[in-house]
Every structure is written in C-alpha cells, then in structure tokens.
Amino acid sequence: MYTKQQKELIFLLKNDSLPYVELSILPKDILIHKSTKMSFEHYQGGKEMRKQSKIFSLLAIALAFALVVAGCGGAKPAPAEPGSSDVIKIGIFEPLTGDNAAGGQMTLEGMELANKLYPEVLGKKVELVVVDNKSDKAEAANAVSRLIDNDKVSVILGSYSSGLSMAGGQIAKDKGVPVIGCSPTNPLVTLDNDYYFRVCFIDPFQGAVMANYAINELGITKAAIIKENGSDYSVGLARFFYNAFTEAGGEIVADIDYQKGDNDFTAQLGSINSAGPEVIFAPGDFGPSALLIKQAREMGIEVPFLGGDTWEVGEFLELGGAEVEGATYSSHFTADEPATEMTQTFLDAFKAEYPEQNPNAFAALGFDTYILALDAMTRAESAEPAAIKDALAQTTDFVGATGLITLDENGDATKSAVVNQVVDGAFTFKMIIEPK
C-alpha cells in the first residue's frame, strides 16, 4: 500500500536513523513531530495510549456530568414557604471539615441528640438540614444562603467559630431568617444584627469572670497574660481580662503574644517569669495551652494558670498530663453540678447515646440552641421566621442544659458562668459565677 520510497522512509524511521526528509513525502497516516526523532513503533504505541486515555477522560467527564445532573435533581424539591408543609425544617451550618471540625462535630452531636429527644413541635415533625461550612468564610455564606433559598428553613443553628458565624449572619439578616449561635463568643457576631442570637456568654463576660475569680477567690493582685494574637477568641478574652483586672485594682505585669502553630513558649514564659506574676491568664486553644503549661512547669513556674472554655476537651488532659493539674478555666456548663433539670436530661441522654464520650460544653450548647428554637416556635405558635425572631428576642429565663438563659437587647445570653478546675486528671466543678 505504500510506495517504495515511502517504505524506505518508514524503515529509516523504525531504526531511528531518519535523515532530513521532506515531511510531505511521508504517507499521510504517519505523522512525525517535527523536532523529535520518535520511532515508528513508539508512535504507534503512543497512539494506543492516547486512545485509552481518551476513554478514561471521557469516563471522568461522564462521571462529573452525571454528578452535576444528579445534584441538580437532588436540590430541586423544595416547599414553597417555610413552615407551610408538614415538616418544619431547621437548618444547621457547622464546620464539619477543616480547621474547626472538632468543635463543629461536638456541637452537631448535641443538636442531633436534642432532635432525638424532641422530634416534634407544633404537631409537626422537625427535620434537620445539616450543611458543612468547611471552616471557610465563603462556604459559610454559601451554606446559609442554601439553607434559606433552597431548603426554606424556618430557623438556623450555628456556628462554631465567630468568623464563620459573621459571614453567615449577614445573609440571614438580609433574608430575615433568625439564627441561634451555639458558641461564637465574639461580641461582633450579634452587634447590628437583629436576627442573630446566641446561647453562650460572650468574651467580655468570660474575661471578667476570670479576672474576678483571680482577685476575689485567689486574692491575687499581680497577673500576667499570654495570648495567641491571631485568634479573635484569645485576643478578646485577654483584653477583657485586662480591663476587668485593672479596674478591680489588680496589676498586669506582663502581656505577651504567641503565634498560631508555635510549639516552644520558653522565651515568652521566661520574660513572664521575670516579671513575677502571681497568676498567669492564658486563653487559647487547648493544644498550645496544654503545651505552654507543661513547659512552664518544667521551667519551674509554679503559679496557677487560668484559661477559657476551649480547655474543656479530653485532649487538653492527654497533652498536658500531670502538669495541667490545678488549671482553672471558665466554662458554660458542668456535668458535676447540674444547673437545671434540663442539664440532667441532657446528661442522661448523652451518656445513653455516646457512652464512650464525656459530655462536653459544646454538645450542651448545641443541645440548647435546638431546644431554644423549639421553645421560640411554641411561644410564637408559628414556624414563620419573622415570628420566631420576635419570640427569640423575648426569651427570659429559658431553662437550658447550660443554665437559665435570658437574651438581652443584642441577642446575647445573660447567664451564669461555671468555673472548673483540673483535679486528679479530671475536669471538676469549682463554683458558679452569676452575671452582674
């Protein structure tokens, strides 16, 4: 089928010794890259490979397409108006993956537990719509938008982390759907947003609680602060501790920062030690805090450590070991001294549902957001977002698992704080501090 001249060329091509040729002389079904000496077999093999890879890529595209189609199909069914169908939808946006996944998961467990105990309101079944916000602000905003526009939820619960809550809160405000926050403690979350409420106390209160505890209970006047300066939580708590402590006549002898991801705190602790404080306030994540306390003890710093609610996780004890003994922190809740009858209900249910875990404050707060949402719907006798919002704003002395909750004009909870201490390797209840 090839001419003699062409056969010769193919032979040369096979032996990789093709001299300069006019490419146009070659038979049309053989293509050679102009600059490379690709042998004939090689070329043929390449063609096979390309065919195969084409099939695979077609498959990949088909898969992606199928998913897209299925996704569009899946998202379609949505009732016309919130609360008008035979189920009442409550949306949940929590960080279930990413940096804040641990906190998000614990909170979600509490919400699901509450849903199991109280599956109905206003004679209708409650359906939870859970969306993940990936610990990402853009995703958090998308998630809330999806809950409101696609799922037509009556009320939204969430989210762990204040930054995520603020991103979602703006959309809820624009759309007029109320949100109940579980543990975003930054005051900015509810400021200038009538649709955001929360069941936790805020950073100023928590900072003040620990400052008062140090002055009144420990009888101390010289304190040092060490904080993670990239975390709104840590910075906020430290600032309000500072204000409350100095106002009550105390003196802050050192105020030092560390960065997210730091593992070695000896330099900071050294300068704190030389300032001679009687107590060290170290609000921050449980990981760095446990390491920090450990290193302080190794350096021979014996003064007590105070902290915030983030310490109350099992990993804090595991990481810190014997060194975190005596660490005192403020918390939302204690399992030792049930604040209300609802606390007992929560504890019993939690132990039955998750026997391997210790009941934690985040689950309790998640639990409270759900029952508060149901309570507001019952009081409003409606599942309309606007009616729920008005009912939520009037919440007074609501009996939750984390204590009696009253929402103030900003939508922030006024409630008692618990001070806990690590004793014999366990979180132990110390005292309750009432809001002023």
Binding site: K137, I148, D232, R239
Partner: protein, 354 residues
C-alpha cells in the same frame, strides 16, 4: 461569508447573550444561585490574575492571598461607614484619619488594587531575581508576613477580630462586568509585545535574555499587574462576604486558586475561566452527596467531607489524563468550535481561497 466577519458577529452576539443572561438571571435563579455566580466571577478574576504570573510568565508565585488581603482590607475600610467602623473597633480605637473616610465602590477597589500593586513592587524587586522554588518560598513568606502585620495592626485592621458589616454594594453586573474587563485587559496584554515577552521568559529565560528582553523588567511588570487584579478580586470578595479577618487569607487560600489555574491549564485564560466557574459551581452542587440519601430500601447517612473526596477524584483524573489541564495552553477560538460542529470544510475552503 468571510471568517473574520463571522468571528466579529459571533463575538458581538455572545457579548449580548452574556448581558441578557445577567439581566434575566434573577428571574429564574434564586438568591443562592446568584450568590454562587457572583462568587464564580470573583474566582475567575483571581484565577486569571494568578495565571498571568504562574502560567504566562512562568513565575511560581504563592503570594496571591497576601495581595488579596491588601485589596480586601483597603476596599472594606474605604467602603464602610463611620458608624459601622466605630461598632467594629470596640476593643481598640480606630486610627483617626481612617474613621471619617467613606468612598464609593470604584475608587475603593482601585485603591485596593493600587496598594496591592505597590506592595508587589516592593516585594517583587528583591525576590524576582530568584527562580523556581526559591521564588515560591519567598512569595509564600511574603503572604504570611502581610497576614501577621494585619493581625497586629489593631488600630487599622481591628486585628484578629476582623471586620464586619462591609456594605454589599456589588451585584452580578459589577462582578461579571469587572471579570469581563479583567479578562479583556489581560488578553490584550498577552497579545501585545509585552505578552510575547512574558511567554518568552516562561519558555526559556536565557534565550529570552539573549534576544534582548529585559527579564527583570517584564517579570516585575507581570507580577505587579497580577497583584493589582488580585487586590481588586480580594476587594470584591470582601464586599460579597461582608466580613473579613486575617485568618481567611492564609497561604492555603492561594492553593485554592492555584488549583483552579492548574485544572484549567497553566497558560490558558480560557482554562482559568472555565475551571473557575466549574469548580465553584461544582463544590456547591456536590453538597447533595453529604446529605442523607434514601435509595429505596437503603438509607445512606450524610457524611461530611464527601464532596472533597469527589473533588479530589476529579482532580486526580485531570492530572492523570490531562496533564496540562483542561485547555493546556490553548485558548478559546471560534474556528475550533465551527470545526467541531461540522462546518470546518466551509472555513478551510475560505482559507484556501485567500
């Protein structure tokens, strides 16, 4: 009909189609879908600007999140009203000159872009003499430095607490209009002698230098233009989200756009646009796999993170079978489309006649 004439008609009609789509979008899409479209436009801007350095000039820069944060903070602080600023700065007092300033969107965005570009000159001058991995490390470090500075300058950025209540003054018109403008400008730069110089530097630095191209000048130019658009993209993102904080702009944020650029094709504007839109929409559409599903007798509980698994699988497929991304270094062309729909012969004849 002549091909060039046909091309003109097709381009103009697709332009009007885009306008019509944006105009009619609110009629058949809900706010959620429109929000995703807004986000895709912003991601397209950011991907196109990143592609200019990483794809067209061959500079492996990872400082994009840093430039975005400069743009985002500048735009946010210039747009916010005095009242919102006072509300935000409840812990530290705001730097007095900043308090009273409130500008409109365009000057705010331009200011954000310009500041990002100025920072790009400052950072680019010493680091662009580095190559490959070293440049990547230097720019990565720069992004982190910016973030740490923002975390610590309490009286300007409100530190770790972030800003809230940035007025949401943009809409589909703004986002897609700016996206189209950015694509147009970058396309024109790439088709000019500057663009050829960028590509020459990417393909072979030494050859480019020996041809008389001032490598440093062109690298810096590409870097600064890219930073300018990154600043504008960051500003638009801040307006869309209405809240920002420094943690948002960690270096992983850059990877998100690097991924879009790589999937679309390093060195293809079309690729960045396609994958920017595709990935943003896909991540939302894929949410259904995390919802509990009822397939008749089998009920599957929702597993958070499933869409990331699918996303990774798609990424794997692209990397395995399209090593150069969806578009490689090819660009969108009407010729290709006409050929694909079977009218190729018509054009070939035309070309042969000429």
């Amino acid at each position: 009909m002549e091909y060039s004439k046909l091309k003109k008609i097709l381009t103009i009609s697709s332009f009007f189609l885009l306008i019509a789509l944006i105009y009619f979008a609110p009629n058949f899409l809900n706010d959620y879908a429109i929000r995703i479209l807004n986000l895709s436009a912003i991601y397209v801007i950011l991907a196109v600007s990143l592609n200019l350095t990483n794809g067209f000039t061959g500079l492996f820069s990872l400082g994009h999140a840093g430039f975005m944060s400069i743009g985002a903070y500048t735009t946010a602080l210039l747009l916010m009203t005095e009242k919102t600023k006072i509300m935000n700065f409840y812990m530290y007092d705001i730097w007095p000159p900043l308090q009273g300033i409130t500008l409109h969107l365009i000057p705010s965005l331009l200011m954000g872009g310009t500041l990002a570009a100025i920072f790009a000159v400052v950072i680019g001058a010493p680091t662009l003499k580095l190559r490959g991995d070293y440049l990547a490390i230097a720019t990565l470090g720069f992004g982190e430095i910016i973030r740490v500075i923002f975390t610590n300058s309490h009286s300007i950025t409100n530190g770790a607490l972030g800003l809230k209540g940035i007025p949401g003054v943009t809409n589909l018109w703004w986002n897609w209009g700016i996206a189209a403008l950015v694509i147009l400008i970058v396309k024109n730069i790439l088709d000019s002698s500057y663009g050829f110089a960028f590509k020459a530097i990417r393909d072979d630095e030494i050859a480019a230098e020996s041809m008389g191209i001032n490598i440093f000048k062109y690298k810096l130019m590409s870097f600064v233009i890219s930073a300018f658009f990154a600043g504008i993209g960051g500003g638009l993102l801040a307006v869309l989200l209405s809240t920002i904080d420094p943690i948002m702009f960690r270096f992983v944020f850059t990877y998100q756009f690097l991924m879009i650029v790589v999937i679309g094709g390093l060195g293809s504007l079309t690729g960045s646009v396609i994958s920017g839109i595709f990935i943003t929409i896909m991540m939302e559409v894929l949410r259904f796999v995390e919802q509990p599903m009822n397939l008749g007798p089998i009920a599957i509980p929702g597993i958070p993170g499933m869409r990331m698994v699918i996303y990774s699988l798609i990424l794997l497929f692209v990397i395995l079978f399209y090593q150069k991304g969806i578009m490689g270094t090819n660009e969108f062309s009407w010729k290709w489309i006409i050929k694909k729909i079977g009218l190729g012969k018509f054009i070939k004849k035309e070309a042969a006649e000429q």
